[in-house]
């Protein structure tokens, strides 16, 4: 038995070595395509991590017209305090709101020069008692006198999710094509291996080697190419994720712009924290790697099996 196993492994290694260029091409194609798959998966995970955080901590912002008088502001404040949909609110007055606006548009002095504190809209930043009631709050306040607009994160999250799912579709589509390419490449590689060993195969058939004994080295070759490609992809995905997280961590050392003003993470690092949460955890990377390895193995086995069925007449 052990001689059979030894032989099979030796044959496989020999096949790979003889067809090294094809094997490398197959491995790299599998690698690249699975990197795309992995990136799509990781991005999806990152976005869902981030959006789940956002929908918990962030509430609704009610923007008031800049020229509102106090009574209008008070009336709205009254309403906000009385409705059970809202837990608490902070009022961002002209001065604070202007500072916020200035910092947001610090790169675009033309825009910030248009505003003065008195022409900057004021904002009620509110925490919802239930994250799902944002829509109701929106209905309640938009169109009321003195209210400019109601802004709630669900919309933004939806937009972000739409964009990421579009990205995912594109990534996965490309990945699918690449996977098809790698399938074909593995198919061709195995075909070449079968061709280069046709004499041996003929003799094996003649002296009564079993069909599986003849097939297994070729299938193993495909399996190895697929799996090694998947390992390459896992490495690349891990590297990309680390690169991103390094970049984001470095950026957080600067006094960066708060992306969601007035929320409870109103400190200077708020935006970065949100961005950081889009970096997938090590756990996600491991799960993704496992998925990639399984896909790679399947591609390898299927590619080689089809080639064996077509070209290895046993």
């Amino acid at each position: 038995m052990s001689i059979g196993v030894n032989r099979t492994l030796r044959d496989t290694a020999l096949n790979l070595w003889r067809n090294i260029q094809y094997a490398l091409a197959a491995v790299l194609t599998v690698g690249v395509s699975l990197t795309l798959v992995g990136s799509a998966l990781i991005a999806k995970q990152g976005v869902s991590n981030a959006t789940s955080q956002w929908s918990h901590g962030v509430g609704v912002k009610v923007w008031l017209n800049a020229d509102d008088n106090n009574s209008q502001v008070n009336a709205i404040k009254e309403q906000l305090n009385s409705t059970p949909l809202i837990k608490s609110c902070t009022y961002i007055d002209h001065e604070d709101s202007y500072k916020l606006m200035e910092s947001i548009f610090s790169n675009e002095p033309v825009i910030s020069s248009v505003f003065t504190p008195s022409t900057t809209p004021t904002i009620f930043s509110c925490v919802l008692s239930n994250p799902n009631s944002a829509q109701a709050v929106n209905k309640m306040f938009s169109g009321q006198p003195g209210v400019m607009t109601v802004q709630y994160p669900q919309q933004e999250i939806k937009t972000i999710e739409n964009i990421t799912s579009l990205f995912q579709v594109i990534l996965l589509g490309m990945a699918g094509l690449m996977l098809l390419a790698s399938l074909i490449l593995i198919f061709v590689t195995i075909r070449m291996a079968i061709f280069s060993r046709r004499r041996e195969v003929a003799v094996m058939k003649l002296v009564g080697a079993t069909n599986w004994f003849i097939r297994v080295p070729f299938m193993l070759e495909g399996l190895i190419e697929g799996t090694v490609g998947a390992l390459v992809a896992s490495g690349l995905v891990y590297a990309i994720r680390n690169l991103l997280s390094n970049l984001i961590n470095k950026a957080s050392n600067y006094n960066a712009t708060p992306v969601v003003p007035g929320s409870k993470c109103g400190s200077q690092n708020c935006g970065i924290t949100l961005l950081q949460s889009t970096v997938a955890s090590g756990h996600d990377v491991i799960i993704t790697s496992i998925v990639l390895i399984v896909i790679g193995a399947i591609v390898g086995v299927v590619g080689s099996f089809v080639a064996i069925r077509r070209f290895l007449d046993v």
């Binding site: 038995m1 001689i3 059979g4 032989r7 004499r199 041996e200 003929a202 003799v203 094996m204 058939k205 003649l206 002296v207 009564g208 080697a209 079993t210 069909n211 004994f213 003849i214």
Partner: protein, 285 residues
């Protein structure tokens, strides 16, 4: 050992390759399969190896019925059949030893078995001193002996030889025939397809002649046969012919029995004519 019953086989768009052929070969026989190109010799061998299935009829080989033999069992059938070809079919990048060992390796024999059996069979074919050569460094006759060693190392019940001397000069062919004869003496059934009249004539073994897929002659201790006019020719005195073109199976069998009786008589009169081949002790192998 081998039985073809009313076998017909045709390839797409061509005439019948085998036409209602019925033949039986007993264990330990040495049979020449003769006939012009396209007479169905190769089809006969391919059917035997179950590389193909017959259209009609039943084939028994080594106790197995081939038509209903499932594919996964075919390798086990082939372990009972050794094959030798005109073009040797050795692996050029393996040494003589490795070529022979390959046949055992791929059917899962242990290293221990390989190390004991391969030298034995190399000794039988007289190639012990060339065990580490590559096929390219051997003469044609030596290569064919390696091929025979490979076919025989697993001790098959049947040895098929398709024109084994087709590429060899007469003297070398003689050596190969000697070897096949020795193998035949170990109770191995040998079926050899050939065009070499002198070999058939000198061996005086059973001859099965095919023509257009039909059995036209089945002769004990036969000769190659056809002269230029296409008739079976009685070139050697005492040879008995049994023309089977229009004879039934019963007649054939009767004819063969008669031939056996007569050839025994013949043998006792002139003594065993195969002394040439008795210079080797094979049973110890």
């Amino acid at each position: 050992m081998i039985r073809f019953e009313n076998i017909s086989k045709s390839y797409k768009g061509t005439a019948l390759a085998l036409d209602n052929l019925t033949v039986e070969i007993e264990k330990g026989e040495f049979v020449f399969l003769v006939g012009p190109s396209g007479s169905g010799k190769t089809t006969f061998l391919r059917l035997l190896l179950r590389e193909e299935k017959p259209d009609k009829g039943v084939i028994f080989v080594a106790g197995r019925e081939l038509k209903h033999l499932p594919n996964y069992k075919v390798p086990y059938l082939r372990r009972n059949i050794g094959c030798v070809f005109q073009d040797f079919r050795l692996l050029p990048n393996k040494t003589v030893f490795q070529n022979v060992a390959f046949a055992l390796e791929v059917i899962g024999r242990s290293k221990h078995v390989i190390d004991s059996k391969v030298p034995q069979v190399l000794d039988l074919v007289r190639l012990t001193n060339k065990a580490n050569r590559l096929p390219g460094q051997l003469s044609g006759g030596e290569q064919q002996r390696v091929a025979i060693a490979r076919a025989f190392v697993n001790r098959p019940l049947i040895l098929l030889a398709d024109e084994p001397t087709g590429n060899l000069d007469p003297a070398t062919s003689q050596g190969i025939m000697k070897l096949l004869d020795r193998i035949n003496r170990t109770e191995t059934t040998v079926v050899m397809a050939t065009h070499d009249a002198s070999i058939v004539d000198s061996m005086r073994r059973r001859v099965i002649q095919l023509e257009k897929g039909r059995l036209v002659r089945d002769q004990e201790r036969g000769i190659y046969g056809l002269d230029e006019s296409g008739n079976i020719e009685d070139r050697l005195t005492g040879s008995i012919k049994a023309v089977a073109t229009d004879t039934s199976e019963e007649e054939l069998v009767r004819g063969r029995k008669k031939i056996k009786r007569q050839s025994k008589k013949h043998e006792s009169l002139i003594g065993a004519d195969s002394d040439v081949f008795e210079d080797e002790e094979v049973t110890s192998f």
